[in-house]
Amino acid sequence: MIQVTATPAVPAGGGRHPAAPSGGDAPDTPADDRLEDLTPEQLAAQWEDEKPPAAGALANAASSLVVVGVGTGALVLSVVMGLGTPAAPQPGLWPFMISCVMVVLGLFQLIIGRHNRDAEKFTRMSLAPLTGLVTLAAMVALMPVIGFELPALVLCVIWMRFLGGETWRSTVLVSAIVVAAFYAIFVLALNTSIPHLF
């Protein structure tokens, strides 16, 4: 199993497919024989089709609003810090300038970028990174308490078995080897102070 990541630099969903599916996943096309004789253009188009569906105007607006919000917040805080003059600047002047630029860019994006198709839709597949994130957060929370070994083992098992679809046998085997290797490297060889149980 190999993942494609370095697909060509085209926006998600692609502007050339205005009628791209707005719900559900793009078809999962396996690289089979009938696709062997594609021209570069067809190949690029196929890569484009396999990208996650593009998100709609709401997602674009939301991301722009976040930018405007953060920019406005920083702007207010900068003014509170004091601006001073260009000749005698106070700490707030430079952040003030950046946050002004940010707010302007955010507003610009809010209006002009409404129909951009470079944002990706959250699909059922997005549950994988969410699960991954939860395990990472759990590991960060548990590491100082019970050391890194058990959380790391659990993380490996979840990522390999449930996110990666490995068999139980290879999951357990590889996870154990991975954790043992990390223990050997970080604790035994490098003697770092990483919290560990054993």
Binding site: S22, A31, T192
Partner: protein
């Protein structure tokens, strides 16, 4: 021959056993991540930044540089054998490389790519050797005003030349600049944006941001990608191209070297753009352009040469001006800063061992890579069988544990996870993470030189226009910023909007 003395001394630095070892480690890792689709060189370098804390600066950069140009070699292998580009800079190689493999000439394609990469890389090192000191001596007179203008232009170019929406890239850059202001103000000593948090008082470290946004963000994003079955690669035989193949590709290799070298120097340029430009150029120049896409050796040799030449020459702006030309160079910049070395025009003079050590290590690295990609290519083809499902948790764990070792603090680990979320969401919403990291790296330099020059000019911003170099740079800045906007407006007037994208049925969780 005074000029050559430090160059030769540089070889003495490279030949130290530890440097040779780290060069080998770097290029092997580069080759591996090039072969394994998933992590790119920028993400790998970010994840491995903690490794560089305990070694000499020159050793650290030799290794990181090896990862970068090694990935250009490795990315070819999957493009040719599986039609899956290992790196973005090898995407165009797929078109003709895979067709050559289907015609039973996989070995030839790989061989041509390696030889082209070697020639392109080596030519670019030679170019770097002669051009870098000249650029550096020119830049020695740069004052704060020139540096402000240069940094602004660098950030703008990287943001506008990057893929995807330009406004979003600029927003990412602004966020990076803002993040750089967190912590103590260097001029007044007042705390900014720390919200009373002591851990933030010294500012946010570069390493957790890079590890989070580039490393963990990328890992999380990859979890979502559809898994696609890769066919077991056919056995690769006869990697040595025939004389006719070499003759056919020699022009492409020569042109690719020159094109890649110059595109690599430009801010925002780099390996990916160079490979695409080279493919386009070869197709245009060819007497029978219809051969392209059907297994033309030039279509493999040209882009692969160009991406290596560009990877090498993109070190020029970093090592001579202190301005990173792309996201990977921003990571190198950060790695040097951690080591207490500020890249800039004074580097050639003040730290010749570091400068020439790094430059000359690339000769060794390229030779190592040539060996690995011709006689030893079979080993790397076998590595293709390692599954992404197994790699992902391993890289995630390396990132978390590595982040802990920076300062032995869980705070850094938490920061990495937080910036990992930021990086993932940025990718989802179409914001390039590169400009953020680049702007963050340049942020404090930009602020301090801006404020210093304003002090010199007595608070008058028009002072920037009284100095010829900074005025020119700012003029270019304005041109780059305004021209695309004007062009779109003109283009929009010409075309009547037809068939606006359908935007119904939106049910995202945001």
């Amino acid at each position: 021959m005074d000029f050559l003395n430090p160059v030769i001394n540089g070889f003495a630095v490279v030949l130290e056993p530890s440097n040779l070892l780290y060069c080998l480690i770097g290029v092997v890792i580069g080759m591996l991540i090039g072969v394994l689709p998933g992590l790119g060189p920028a993400a790998t370098i970010a994840i491995l930044l903690p490794l560089t804390y305990n070694v000499e600066p020159v050793t650290a950069i030799i290794m990181l540089a090896g990862i970068f140009y090694g990935a250009q070699y490795g990315g070819t292998i999957t493009s040719v054998l599986l039609r899956l580009p290992g790196e973005a800079s090898s995407v165009v190689t797929v078109f003709d490389g895979y067709q050559m493999a289907k015609q039973g000439k996989a070995g030839t394609a790989l061989g041509l790519a390696s030889i082209g990469s070697f020639i392109g890389g080596t030519a670019a090192i030679i170019g770097l050797t002669f051009l870098a000191p000249i650029v550096a001596s020119f830049a020695l007179d740069f004052g704060p005003a020139e540096y402000s203008a240069l940094a602004l232009l660098g950030i703008l170019l990287v943001a506008t030349i990057s893929n995807g929406a330009k406004t979003k890239a600029l927003i990412a850059a602004a966020v990076g600049l803002l993040l750089a202001t967190v912590g103590r103000d260097i001029f007044t000593g007042e705390s900014r944006f720390t919200f009373g948090n002591l851990e933030l008082a010294d500012g946010i470290d570069f390493v957790p941001i890079a590890m989070g946004v580039f490393g963990l963000g990328e890992i999380l994003y990859n979890l979502e990608e559809r898994h696609r079955a890769a066919k077991a690669p056919s056995k690769v035989t006869n990697v040595w191209p025939s004389r006719t193949d070499l003759k056919q590709a020699s022009g492409a290799i020569a042109r690719g070297s020159v094109l890649g070298f110059f595109l690599g120097i430009l801010p925002g340029g780099g390996a990916t753009i160079a490979s695409m430009a080279s493919y386009a150029m070869e197709k245009k120049r060819a007497k029978q352009p219809e051969r392209f896409g059907k297994g033309a050796p030039e279509g493999v040799a040209g882009p692969e040469t160009a991406n290596n030449a560009a990877a090498t020459s993109s070190f020029i702006p970093l090592l001579t001006l202190g301005i990173p030309a792309n996201a990977t160079m921003a990571l190198m910049f950060g790695a040097l800063l951690i080591q207490g070395v500020t890249p800039g025009p004074q580097l050639v003079e003040q730290d010749p061992e570091l400068f020439w050590g790094v430059v000359n290590s690339m000769y060794i690295g390229n030779i190592l890579l040539l060996i690995m990609s011709l006689p030893l290519v079979g080993i790397f083809v076998k590595i293709l069988r390692v599954r992404a499902a197994i790699l992902a948790p391993v890289t995630a764990l390396i990132t978390l544990l590595g982040a802990y070792t920076i300062n032995n603090s869980m705070f850094d680990v938490t920061l990495v996870v937080v910036f990992g979320i930021v990086g993932y969401l940025m990718k989802k919403f179409g914001f390039e993470p590169g400009p953020l990291v680049l702007a963050f790296v340049l942020g404090s330099l930009l602020e301090s030189s801006l404020r210093r020059s304003l002090l010199v000019f007595g608070g008058d911003p028009t002072g920037f226009l009284t100095r010829p170099i900074s005025a020119t740079l700012l003029l270019v800045f304005v041109l780059v910023a305004v021209l695309p906007g004007i062009r779109t407006v003109l283009a929009k007037r010409k075309t009547v909007p037809v068939g606006q994208p359908v935007t119904t049925k939106i049910k995202e969780k945001v």
